[in-house]
């Protein structure tokens, strides 16, 4: 049996090399992450700082995505090779090889690939992790590189488990090859009819349960705990989609192919041939797509949630007037009136407002935040929306936010008592526009009620129209410097700072997830090169009938692009839906779809597909028609 295994190795060396690379990448990442976080934790504990546990968790979660994608790629590779070796296996069976021997042959090959790839991966991973550790260190912060035996053994074990585990199903399939298959004509690379009834039913049930959990988590008012439903819901739903893959992917491929054929008129026939090829083998197409689908879904979900967070930064910069500058004080007594006067006098400054704040007990509400704020002035800085009249508030009424109003059954016209004074609610403000919760009263009323509070907690001011922020900032800081305990910060700048941090986080995570996408692209290259091998005669026939070498290359390129773009589009849709559900569970977060980035993502997937087709397509184009037609 070993001999047959070795014969197979000679048969498609590229397949094993590509599978090995997949193992190297996924195992390497795991090993590198372990070494890096071990080293950082060691360094941290030497300084009494917290360990790098969160980083480790994050890296391992991202590494798990790559490993899952790798498992799909490896399983597909073994399944295709077993299908292509049906005759060979059947011949071995007629000569007396047992089922067990046949299955063992496949598993031996998987073990060899897993070990070779794993060892290489660990070596590269340890090197990369150590290098990163050294880079993190500087003059003050020593990072001793820790390469522990568990880190190495775990990485190796996981790599081996994923490789051999992925080959189990193909090995069983190989053991089921009947000896008679040796004499039977092998259908051209077609596997069993795509999706059985059980598969469709299972897939639909899983998707439905997942979708229900997802919707429940997103829609029910669970005060931030919706994620507990959304995350498992998304996972189950995704599993359902994967199970349904052989049923969904081929029609989608055909649809995308049709669209492409309409665009590429002169190459229409080539596109049609490519579409037929891409969809001809439902299970294979589905598994190839699944690998990329996983990566793209995770990237899309992450980028969309991050984008939603970005657009909600204003909301997250909680309890602060969204003006260009906010002046605060460290000492008691609030922002001094002299400072406010001086700043208001600056020609660079526009609209401004003071915010007084304290906590008090209200008869109707209980403990509540009370703010003294001129809402009409605030409205000039940031539009306030809601029911009622701001003028009535200024005339001695009160405003409350809509969440508090709803919770306590208050509406315009109801009384709110604070201390010994009763106010009439004149305005119910949309919390999203106001960003201040509780009861808002005019500043004069506030200072009369709470004489101990002193000056305003914040003084917010916009730069005058047409004045650059930097210039306005210089002017305002010149004043602030002369006053002790007064500091100015710019909302725009802290927003930019938050944006920068968010961008960095997104880039790092997307780069790491890019590894999973790269592995999926290798999977496409692998599937395609095996398809070229399998379709040698067909390509020979096409060449004889007048398909040029260039058209052959284009045909395979289009096939790869179809596979990658279809998977990417599926991933974008699924990822955006999941992100929507996740964002819905978090109050104050506004769901925003980063269309530009997502389009870029689809484009990148298409390019990767094209790149993945390069080698197999070139090989196909180089086939001589005579030799190709003569192959068995």
């Amino acid at each position: 049996m070993l001999r047959i295994t070795l014969a197979g190795v000679r048969l498609h060396p590229l397949r094993l090399v590509l599978t090995g690379i997949v193992v190297v990448l996924s195992v390497g990442f795991a090993a590198g992450s372990l070494v890096l976080t071990d080293s950082l934790s060691q360094a941290a504990s030497a300084e009494g700082a917290p360990k790098a546990d969160f980083l480790r968790f994050l890296l391992l979660m991202l590494g798990a995505v790559s490993l899952i994608v790798a498992a799909f790629v490896i399983a597909n590779t073994f399944r295709i090779t077993v299908a292509q070796r049906t005759r060979e296996i059947a011949l071995a069976r007629t000569m007396g090889a047992t089922r067990r021997q046949v299955a063992t042959g496949v598993l031996i090959e998987a073990t060899a690939v897993g070990l070779a790839g794993g060892i290489t991966g660990v070596a590269l991973g340890v090197a990369a992790g150590s290098a990163l550790g050294v880079l993190t260190a500087d003059g003050f912060y020593e990072v001793p590189i820790v390469v522990s035996a568990p880190a190495i053994l775990w990485s190796l074990a996981i790599g081996l488990a994923v490789t051999v585990g992925s080959a189990v199903h193909p090995a069983i399939a190989a053991s089921r090859v009947a000896p008679l298959a040796a004499v039977r004509a092998v259908p051209d690379g077609a596997d069993s009819p795509g999706a059985g009834r059980v598969r469709v039913r299972t897939g639909l049930i899983l998707s439905a349960i997942g979708a229900m959990l997802l919707m429940a988590g997103a829609a029910l008012p669970l005060a931030g705990y919706g994620l507990v439903l959304v995350v498992p819901g998304a996972a189950i739903c995704f599993l359902g989609i994967l199970v349904l893959g052989p049923k969904i992917v081929p029609p989608l491929l055909r649809a995308v192919g049709c669209a492409l054929a309409a665009v590429t008129r002169p190459a229409r026939t080539t596109t049609r041939l490519a579409t037929a090829n891409a969809a001809r083998n439902p299970k294979r197409a589905a598994t190839t797509a699944a690998a990329l689908l996983i990566g793209v879904t995770v990237v899309t979900g992450f980028v969309t949630v991050a984008e939603s967070a970005r657009s909600s930064i204003g909301v997250i910069l909680d309890q602060q007037v969204p003006a260009d500058f906010v002046v605060t004080t460290h000492g008691g007594g609030g922002v001094p009136a002299t400072a406010i006067e001086a700043i208001e006098a600056l020609p660079e400054m526009g609209a401004s407002v003071s915010l007084y704040r304290t906590t008090a007990t209200s008869l109707e509400i209980g403990d509540v935040e009370v703010a003294g704020l001129d809402l009409r002035r605030y409205d000039q800085i940031a539009r306030v929306t809601g029911d009622g009249s701001l003028d009535d508030v200024a005339a001695g009424g009160a405003a409350i936010d809509d969440v508090t109003a709803q919770r306590h059954g208050l509406a315009v016209g109801d009384p709110v008592t604070i201390g010994d004074r009763a106010f009439l609610v004149a305005f119910v403000a949309d919390l999203r526009s106001l960003r201040l919760g509780g009861v808002i009263v005019p500043p004069e009323a506030f200072t009369a009620l709470f004489p101990d509070v002193g000056g305003p907690e914040q003084f917010a001011v916009d730069a005058a129209e047409g004045v650059p922020v930097a210039k306005a900032r210089a002017a305002i800081e010149a004043i602030a410097q002369e006053l002790p305990d007064v500091s100015v910060h710019s909302n725009i700048e802290s927003r930019q700072e938050l944006n920068r941090q968010l961008d960095l986080a997104v880039s790092v995570v997307v780069a790491i997830l890019g590894l999973a996408v790269l592995i999926a692209a290798i999977g496409i290259a692998n599937t395609l090169s095996l398809a070229v091998h399998e379709r040698t005669r067909e390509i020979g026939l096409l060449r004889a009938l007048g398909v040029t070498a260039r058209q052959t290359r284009a045909m395979l390129g289009i096939e790869a692009v179809l596979a990658s773009v279809t998977a990417a589009v599926m991933g974008l849709v699924v990822g955006v839906v999941f992100a929507w559900a996740a964002v819905s569970t978090i109050p104050n977060l506004e769901f925003t779809v980063p269309w530009g980035r997502l389009a870029l993502c689809a484009l990148a997937a298409g390019m990767l597909g094209l790149l993945a087709s390069a080698v197999p397509a070139r090989r196909a184009a180089r086939l001589s028609p005579v030799a190709a037609l003569a192959t068995e």
Binding site: A276, L542, L545
Partner: protein, 255 residues
């Protein structure tokens, strides 16, 4: 090329060569292991003629067909398709010649499994960005009895039907020459005879030029002429062949 397409529509006068080989040599390998598969062949195939190429295994008959059909390039010598010299053409130019001026019927695996019969028949024309002349298409399909099989995939067709689809594909673009490589090799005798009658009819009634490689004397008897090959050289020809005269001729070659 325009003069060629003109020639395709009017029955060519007999005697004018549709395709010919001049001093054709094909050597495989190099040095001491080199094999001369074709050793200086001069042969002509007239327009509107049905010719069978015969010879024992290894005589070079398939190699000759591959070189004539622009599937393979000769080591030396020339192949002239009408006025076009195929010997100097680039791979792409050769491909375009095959697409537009040559039809093929192979022994097996003639059809793309992903396309239905109609799409298979129209493939070479579609590649050239043309569509089939509907009258001609219907005629060919009707003559070959494929009318109710056009929407079937190859896997849903019998061996004989698959070969007929291949013949329809070869005829529908009205090529200068149809090359058939053991077209009946995988068929039972009845389907084989049927297919050969179609090829014969395409020559006699439609003026098509057909060159067929075969090792079957009964198949060769359908042709108007048999060219015999041995050891990469021309070894005679038989006009108005019968199975017996072909067998006798082959025996003369020591086969």
């Amino acid at each position: 090329m325009t003069t060629q397409s003109h020639a395709r529509h009017s029955p060519a006068p007999t005697g004018s060569a549709a395709i010919r080989a001049v001093g054709l040599v094909k050597v495989y390998g190099e040095g001491r292991t080199a094999v001369r598969a074709l050793d200086g062949i001069d042969v002509e195939f007239d327009a509107g003629e049905f010719t069978a190429i015969m010879g024992p295994s290894g005589s070079g008959k398939s190699t000759l067909m591959h070189c004539l059909a622009g599937l393979d390039t000769a080591t030396s010598g020339r192949v002239l398709l009408g006025d076009t010299d195929l010997t100097g053409l680039s791979d792409t130019a050769l491909t375009l010649v095959r697409r537009q001026r040559i039809g093929f019927v192979f022994q097996s695996f003639n059809l793309l499994p992903t396309l239905d019969a109609r799409a298979n028949i129209e493939l070479p024309l579609q590649l050239a960005g043309q569509s089939a002349d509907p009258v001609w298409f219907d005629h060919v399909v009707e003559v070959l009895g494929l009318g109710d099989r056009l929407t079937h995939r190859p896997s849903e067709l019998s061996g004989g039907q698959q070969q007929r689809v291949a013949v329809a594909r070869a005829l529908v673009s009205r090529p200068d020459v149809v090359f058939a490589d053991e077209p009946t090799g995988n068929l039972d005798s009845r389907s084989g005879a049927e297919l050969l009658s179609f090829l014969q009819a395409s020559v006699l009634e439609l003026g098509q030029t057909v060159v067929m490689v075969t090792h079957d004397p009964y198949a060769a008897a359908y042709a108007g002429r048999v060219v015999l090959l041995a050891d990469g050289r021309l070894a005679g020809q038989i006009t108005e062949p019968t199975a017996d005269s072909v067998l006798a001729g082959l025996r003369g070659l020591g086969a």
